[in-house]
């Protein structure tokens, strides 16, 4: 889901840089106002975890690969705003040092995986969990937080790919950047994430949530201040 350089036109990647900048600024401001030193190790670990889990490429036999992002569990543990920082740091290092995702597309990739995804995951979790104290429902909420978060992030990425032929073509109508239209990009990206990669993200999110609730329940932002 890391958009490389050359797939997005400037009229797409520049506004997405702008959007990510706004979220970075607010996230850093909130982090400054609301965080204490004891939160720092979890932020560092969430960023490292997001970096690492993205290295585990999962194959679709004979086809393509994909991976989880870890933004779902980051949002539940740190809150969505701090998760923005964690996942963005991982994505920026991936782009600069490892060429995974383009330099021009850092704004877009952060918007898709470090903004859309943690906020979606967090809201889905809150929505499904509600006021229920059922453990089953809690883990279902964790699963769907990861599953829907990653899938929506993939669909937004696909839309960015898919609008390129419409907004950036040469005089003969040949695409200048990402060549596939929405009718190809969206179904491909949506299906592979809904059927496989999203399920992995969901399972990882639910399992880690369970692990934290057992060992360090106070570290779970999404359950703070709720009746346990």
């Amino acid at each position: 889901m890391h958009i490389p350089d050359g797939y997005l036109s400037p009229q797409t990647y520049v506004p997405l840089y702008g959007a990510s900048f706004v979220f970075w600024a607010v996230a850093l401001r909130k982090f400054k106002d609301e965080s204490a030193v004891k939160h720092i190790p979890y932020l560092a670990m969430a960023a490292a975890f997001s970096f690492l889990i993205q290295m585990f490429n999962i194959p679709i036999p004979g086809g393509t690969t994909g991976h989880a992002v870890g933004a779902g569990i980051a949002a539940l543990l740190l809150g969505p705003w701090t998760a923005v920082i964690a996942v963005s740091v991982a994505l920026i290092i991936q782009a600069l040092v490892f060429g995974d995702g383009g330099i021009t597309a850092i704004g877009a990739n952060c918007f898709n995986m470090a903004v859309i995804m943690p906020f979606t995951s967090y809201w889905v979790f809150k929505l499904i969990k509600g006021n229920s104290s059922s453990v089953k429902r809690l883990y279902a909420a964790g699963f769907f937080a990861g599953y829907i978060g990653l899938s929506l992030s993939a669909i937004v990425t696909a839309v960015e790919f898919g609008i390129q032929p419409m907004i950036a073509a040469d005089i003969d109508g040949k695409p200048l950047y990402a060549p596939y239209p929405l009718s190809v990009a969206v179904p491909v990206m949506a299906l592979e994430h809904l059927l496989l990669f999203g399920i992995i993200e969901g399972v990882v999110t639910a399992m880690l949530l369970k692990y934290f609730l057992k060992h360090e329940p106070d570290a779970v932002y999404a359950l703070r201040g709720s009746s346990k």
């Binding site: 030193v37 679709i60 040092v97 490892f98 990402a178 060549p179 596939y180």
Partner: protein
């Protein structure tokens, strides 16, 4: 650092050591690039041409460890596996280090 946190850092290092599964499994199952992440050469094979804008932008940045691989495009699998583990460890250090620097500058409360 609490004992729980120490355990988590160790788990992250184990993840880095296991990360080569992320290149071995796709090779075993004959899976190509992630959708939409083809290089210009691969795209030429799929489409028969490389879109002009894409060609212009695709080489804008030379990453020091491109594709988590120290050995270049024709590196053997063992070099790739080694590179991947190094990349994972380096990733933990870089990402963790940057978070600590940012936090240092911003967070004042104990």
């Amino acid at each position: 650092m609490t004992r729980f946190q120490k355990k988590l850092w160790i788990a992250l290092i184990i993840m880095a050591l296991l990360s080569p599964l992320g290149i071995i499994l796709p090779q075993k199952f004959n899976s190509g690039d992630a959708w939409g992440e083809w290089g210009a050469d691969a795209l030429e094979k799929i489409l028969g041409y490389v879109p002009d804008g894409l060609k212009r932008l695709s080489d804008i940045w030379k990453a020091p460890i491109a594709d988590y691989n120290l050995g270049g495009e024709n590196a053997s699998l063992s070099v790739q596996i080694f590179s991947y583990i190094i990349s994972g460890i380096l990733g933990i250090a870089l990402v963790g280090g940057i978070v600590y620097v940012i936090s240092r500058l911003l967070v004042k409360k104990g």
